[in-house]
């Protein structure tokens, strides 16, 4: 792992050797968090976390103003002073003092007027899912409103010297992290997509993540497939007042339709009303080696409606509702039970812009399912001193009632007050205080501090 990364870093550094008129961008974000939690056994857990982000990027390496060649990197260092070494050993996810290389790639654009190339550690998002891998992505622009992506590399895992801790999308879910999941993940994929079409946006993507050749319980050696999906998405602007969108993903490992969505959006009726209607079908899938795949899982079916009224650019209100259907179906031990469970919810809210820097809003939603939950959030803020000093607040109330668990019932209150100070576009300092109250902890106080720096050299 280390040698691979060292090789990649060296290659990128060589590729970014001195060149004229470089645009160097530096970002440094520091996040500090301090609070305490009460565990179910009454113990106090300390949270004293520090996250340091550092981004370095060099643009326009060729110095011709076209930015055809550039290098981007993003690093993070995490420390949790509330975790003992013993705990960190017992739960690797909690390890402190960990350096993560999140992004480091060299990108060349418009090679021969038809090709983009990105090499290094990169985040890739397409219709199949997220992935982060060390490898190469080639993008071909055919000039006929069609582009093609082809990529391959090694999946970035949680563990390892330069792995990314606390990740979700960066590694497939299913197996326990770290020690149980050390095999290399080989990522290969391709997608075909539209480009340069104002009213049509489509992508057809395929991706496979697999292990190298390993011994198989079926005999011989095989590449275990951890993930393989074919997914397509399409959006069309039929009229300025009618947009249709749809997507679907087929999971080859589990042979299920893992995700499907259809949405109709009617914006700007009488210049002020939007209507959005969506259906979402979702079946959870896991890494191919996980036994969570073999259980009987019923897909989620959501139908969601939202109506929004906009009063100019400065105010809007929305109302929405959804219905969710689950099948409670038979399994091998119980071939009898078969029922449809219906959950539903309502939501509403709005916001008003007050002058150039003030804003207030309210969001509320009610959901059924395992009991009822009502959440109400009021928020607002105002910028002073030419918007360099911003004062903001948020109040939350959650009324929750879980039918089958007595302890999950009650009312929760929370208040947050934050202040930020911006020094031109160079730096921003935040201090956020959160005060919560609930049945388990009568008073819980949290403090967050952020320092964001961003400048060009």
């Amino acid at each position: 792992m280390m040698s691979r990364t060292a090789l990649m870093v060296s290659a990128l550094l060589l590729a970014s050797a001195p060149a004229p008129a470089l645009d160097v961008h530096v970002t440094a974000d520091t996040v500090g968090q301090g609070y305490q939690l009460i565990t179910s056994s009454g113990d106090v857990l300390r949270r004293s976390r520090l996250h340091q982000f550092l981004g370095l990027a060099v643009y326009d390496i060729l110095g011709d103003g076209e930015n055809q060649l550039f290098v981007v990197s993003q690093m993070r260092f995490d420390a949790d002073f509330g975790i003992s070494d013993t705990e960190a050993t017992a739960l690797p996810q909690l390890q402190n003092n960990h350096f993560s290389l999140m992004v480091l790639y060299l990108e060349a654009r418009n090679l021969g007027d038809f090709l983009d190339l990105r090499v290094g550690r990169q985040l890739l998002i397409d219709t199949t899912d997220f992935t982060m891998f060390d490898g190469a992505l080639l993008t071909f622009h055919t000039g006929a409103h069609v582009g093609v992506d082809v990529y391959s590399g090694l999946e970035v895992k949680n563990g390892g010297d330069l792995g990314v801790v606390s990740s979700t999308q960066l590694e497939l879910d299913g197996d326990g992290a770290f020690a149980e999941d050390d095999d290399f993940g080989i990522v290969i994929g391709a997608s075909v997509f539209t480009e340069g079409l104002r009213d049509h946006h489509a992508r057809l993507a395929w991706r496979r993540v697999m292990t190298p050749k390993l011994e198989s319980p079926l005999g011989g050696e095989t590449n275990y497939v951890d993930m393989e999906k074919l997914a397509g998405s399409y959006h069309v602007r039929v009229l300025p007042e009618l947009h249709l969108a749809g997507s679907a993903a087929w999971d080859f490992v589990s042979s299920v339709l893992s995700d499907a969505r259809v949405e109709a959006r009617v914006p700007g009726i009488a210049d002020c009303v939007d209507i959005e209607l969506a259906w979402w079908y979702f079946t959870p899938t896991f890494e191919g080696s996980s036994i969570f795949n073999i259980f009987q899982t019923a897909p989620l079916n959501d139908v969601d409606l939202r109506v929004r009224y906009r009063h100019g650019d400065d105010a809007s209100v929305y109302l929405g509702s959804y219905v969710r259907l689950f099948r409670q179906g038979p399994d091998a031990n119980d071939p009898v039970t078969d029922a449809i469970i219906t959950d539903w919810g309502l939501r509403g809210g709005g916001k008003i812009q007050l002058g150039k820097t003030g804003r207030v809003g309210l969001d509320a939603y009610f959901q059924t399912g395992f009991g009822d939950v009502t959440t109400i959030e009021a928020w607002g803020g105002y910028g002073f001193l030419d918007d360099t000093l911003d004062l903001y607040t948020r109040l939350s109330t959650v009324l929750f009632d879980d039918d089958s668990r007595d302890l999950l019932e009650g009312t929760s209150f929370g208040g947050l007050v934050g202040i930020s100070y911006r020094v031109r576009e160079l730096a921003k300092f935040h201090l956020v205080n959160e005060l919560n109250s609930n049945d388990i902890e009568k008073i819980q106080y949290r403090v967050y501090g952020f320092v964001d720096l961003s400048f060009w050299l």
């Binding site: 645009d23 961008h25 970002t27 565990t39 179910s40 056994s41 009454g42 996250h51 643009y59 930015n67 550039f70 981007v72 017992a90 996810q93 985040l123 397409d126 409103h145 990314v164 879910d173 197996d175 992290a177 340069g196 104002r198 946006h201 489509a202 275990y224 998405s233 959006h235 947009h243 969108a245 490992v253 042979s255 949405e263 914006p267 959005e276 959870p284 191919g288 080696s289 996980s290 969570f292 795949n293 073999i294 009987q296 009063h311 929405g320 689950f326 099948r327 409670q328 179906g329 038979p330 091998a332 039970t337 469970i341 809210g349 399912g369 395992f370 109040l395 939350s396 668990r405 209150f413």
Partner: protein
């Protein structure tokens, strides 16, 4: 209820005052926008003030060419160029036709109030006859802040693009305003389709050296409005952005860095815009309901399981052994039992499962199971008795052995099968 009504009244009053204030600023000679799907952005084209009485329609009817007044319109290469006749130099353009000395009686009428409506000049004592600016107080000035669009008028003119292609039919317009005659993105994209003209965002929008769009302006943040894609950054955006990003992540990259995505999607720092206050306590009620969006940022088998082990919510014998802490407070009775009665049915006796049976809960939301349990918990009971060493309680759906799912799981990753079945059996 009284508080709610009072709040609604306050909101209504604010909206009404806003409407009145907007109406008061309107120029009666500003022609209302016609047949526009939407209006130009006030961020890209900051608020203007054009306190004039002017008639584009009359000028065009007289066959006055656009460049006669907008002299640099076909040679300008930057949007920072002032193409509208303003101030004294601008009035010099007017004098090509307007005889200021002739006043209202001239043809065409040329009094101050001809254009500066309701303006009565108070001349300074001893002014010269041709010094029209020797007044005690000048009429209200035009305010035309710099816009934030890249615009090369020359390139467009050289390509033969008529003024009306971007600014509309001004023969029906009196005072041209942002609302009635500045182009919107739809106008640009009629030609900027990627073939006739470039269609990248940076073609028209101001950018940083990185090529990403500048989005912070004095009046606020520039954000998509959803005119061309499902990209309106509105109250529903948090829930639906995945579809748009999945369709075209490079479109998002026009404004956002990878860090912007990872800030939320690595689940390290609580994003205040996502979770309400007191989230740690209330999140189980959301997670239990099956919110698939949890897994967009949190990996159940690491983020959820490990924190649940540490906080005593999940089974954690390995963690307890190594740290010397009490195991599984829920089951030791400290706070009661986590799972409800009927969670594990007596399937050996053939009794039907109750609604609280964990099988149904797993069907409905297996991610909730995976947020506290590793596979080993399931295996303890569901492992095959034959050579597997488990209790042999079959977790598969009916007719699983005959299903395509069985074959594809076995063919693609048989080590999953080998977790419970040794040797791995054939699918039927």
């Amino acid at each position: 209820m009284k508080t709610l009504l009072r709040s609604l009244l306050v909101v209504g009053a604010v909206l009404a005052l806003h409407s009145l204030a907007t109406a008061a600023n309107e120029n009666p000679w500003a022609t209302p926008p016609q047949q526009r799907d939407y209006l130009p952005s006030s961020l890209l084209f900051p608020d203007q003030s054009i306190p004039l009485r002017f008639f584009h329609d009359k000028h065009l009817a007289q066959e006055v060419d656009c460049t006669q007044c907008h002299e640099n319109a076909t040679t300008s290469v930057s949007s920072a160029d002032q193409l509208i006749p303003v101030g004294a130099p601008g009035e010099a353009v007017c004098t090509t036709c307007h005889d200021f000395a002739g006043g209202a009686e001239a043809d065409p009428p040329s009094a101050c109030a001809t254009c500066h409506a309701n303006y009565e000049p108070a001349w300074k004592a001893g002014r010269k006859a041709d010094d029209f600016h020797a007044v005690e107080s000048a009429p209200a000035a035009m305010v035309l802040p710099k816009n934030h669009i890249k615009m090369n008028h020359k390139a467009h003119a050289d390509a033969g693009v008529p003024c009306s292609a971007c600014h509309g039919d001004l023969s029906k317009v009196q005072v041209a305003t942002r609302e009635n005659s500045l182009p919107v993105m739809n106008t640009c994209m009629d030609c900027h389709d990627g073939r006739r003209a470039p269609d990248t965002c940076r073609t028209c929008h101001e950018t940083e050296p990185s090529g990403r769009l500048i989005t912070s302006f004095e009046g606020g943040k520039l954000m998509p409005a959803g005119h061309f894609r499902n990209d309106a950054h509105d109250d529903a955006w948090l829930e639906k952005h995945a579809s748009t990003a999945g369709n075209d992540d490079q479109y998002c990259a026009n404004c956002h860095t990878e860090k912007y995505c990872l800030d939320c999607h690595t689940g390290v720092v609580k994003p205040f815009k996502v979770h309400p206050n007191n989230w740690v306590l209330t999140h189980p009620t959301h997670a239990r309901r099956f919110d698939p969006t949890c897994s967009g940022c949190h990996r159940t088998q690491s983020f959820c399981v490990d924190c649940h082990k540490r906080s005593g919510v999940a089974r954690a014998s390995d963690y307890s052994t190594q740290t010397g802490k009490d195991e599984l407070a829920w089951n030791t009775g400290t706070l009661g039992k986590f799972h409800p009665a009927g969670w594990v049915g007596d399937l050996k006796n053939g009794s039907a499962r109750g609604m609280n049976h964990h099988g149904f809960q797993a069907q409905r939301n297996i991610r909730a199971c995976a947020a506290c349990h590793t596979e080993q918990t399931c295996v303890e009971c569901h492992k095959s008795q034959i050579n597997g060493g488990g209790l042999g309680i079959n977790p598969h759906p009916p007719s699983f052995g005959k299903s395509m799912k069985c074959r594809s799981l076995r063919d693609t990753n048989a080590r999953m099968c080998a977790t419970c079945h040794v040797p791995v059996p054939e699918c039927d």
